[in-house]
Symmetry: C2
Subunit: 247 residues, 2 copies
């Protein structure tokens, strides 16, 4: 069950069989299935336990009074949400699904046991949340400084590399189940401008995007064109390929 999380954590350190077993057990205790475009947690809720995304895409988002919405983060298979959030009195943002999602609800107590015992595992989970924070910082840079072209290309690079890190890419292709409206709310552009910018990325031959399938024709070229430096993902040596179907 926890295969994606385990695969991700192993970019940081190698886990013992017991560690992996413990994670797997924890993720089996209580699973939940949520349909597409539905809320998992709502702003104002009392924070509860920890959710692990087993399958599907979710996102953190925040809505302003007048309806404007900002997507703050994407939660992909293997991502943990809200490790210590139960310390806070209420959620300051919502979490919703993009696709149908299967998640494991790991009780706070189970979480405590996981981290109390093994130092390795505890460190790995800490690494997980530090990387999440680093991604959030990079988004600030992305939206604050980059042009529309760079912003969009950067987002696509990030999602592709994160999916690759958990084995969810096939060659230079991956799923991208986002509408242009969702992309717009992610990088702070209008839908129309996202569309224009996607055309541009296509017309220079960097990507293909049809249906829900994204292909990055030359990742290195795209990285250079949009100044994507994967350091902030702290995945260790890049170029390590984890694709399930590589040539």
């Amino acid at each position: 069950m926890a295969e994606f999380l385990i695969r991700k954590l192993e970019h940081f350190t190698s886990l013992s069989t017991e560690d992996k077993h413990a994670l797997d057990q924890a993720s089996r205790q209580r699973t939940r299935r949520i349909r597409s475009r539905d809320d998992i947690v709502h702003e104002g809720d009392l924070p509860q336990g920890v959710n692990l995304i087993l399958d599907g895409w979710a996102c953190r988002y925040k809505t302003l009074e007048d309806g404007r919405r900002q997507i703050i983060a994407y939660l992909l298979p293997g991502d943990l949400c809200d490790h210590h959030v139960s310390i806070l009195r209420e959620m300051d943002h919502s979490i919703g699904t993009v696709t149908a999602v299967t998640l494991a609800e790991i009780p706070t107590e189970t979480m405590r046991q996981l981290t109390a015992g093994q130092a390795r595992l505890s460190q790995a989970l800490c690494w997980e949340s530090l990387v999440a924070a680093a991604i959030q910082r990079e988004w600030t840079v992305n939206i604050g400084q980059r042009t529309a072209f760079e912003r969009l290309g950067h987002l696509l690079c990030e999602l592709y590399v994160r999916l690759r890190a958990v084995g969810l890419t096939q060659g230079n292709t991956c799923e991208l189940p986002l509408t242009q409206a969702e992309i717009a709310d992610t990088i702070g552009l209008s839908v129309v401008h996202v569309n224009r910018t996607l055309q541009e990325l296509r017309s220079v031959g960097l990507i293909s995007l049809r249906g829900r399938e994204l292909t990055i024709h030359r990742l290195d070229a795209l990285q250079r064109a949009v100044q994507f430096n994967p350091n902030y993902l702290h995945l260790g040596r890049e170029g390590r390929h984890l694709d399930s179907n590589e040539a």
Copy 2:
């Protein structure tokens, strides 16, 4: 020494005399003075211990190859930087000073001792870092969705409220040691536009800003005008005033 940190943490929970003493001791072990507009930590460095800002303003920032710069966070008196960051192999961003800064370098080992003993203190420090993460998310919303006017007003509200939480405001006035260029790099606007927008905030009577001194004439009005909702700072009941010099 750790007075600002203690004052901040007490918004979350009340600390025992021992807790406060331990924090104070930890912050006296090794202090360092850095002059204005200088780097404390540079991208690529090996992450070390934990820094506590005792006095002055610093910021996290990231620079792109072509010189564009994004300020990612402000570090004010009482802020801790990089609680667990030593887990990562290298810094993915830099930390620099805005004003002259005094900071305490707290060794990882001391940090471990602080959190190992008292659950209260450990929780409080965890709260500290959750709030930092929440601020980062709010910045994503701010830059991604809000107009120039709202963005700037929102930033000023946040800085004022954070300073108030550590007792660094006098009535509705606080220090604002930022140049317009720094503000521009914070909210993703050009210097010229920051200037225009400041004029606008002044002309509608919401703020005064002269020299390094900011006055927010009616905080509630400014909050409404820019949709600033202080929830994300998780300071507990607002309206609790901690000003050192209130009428």
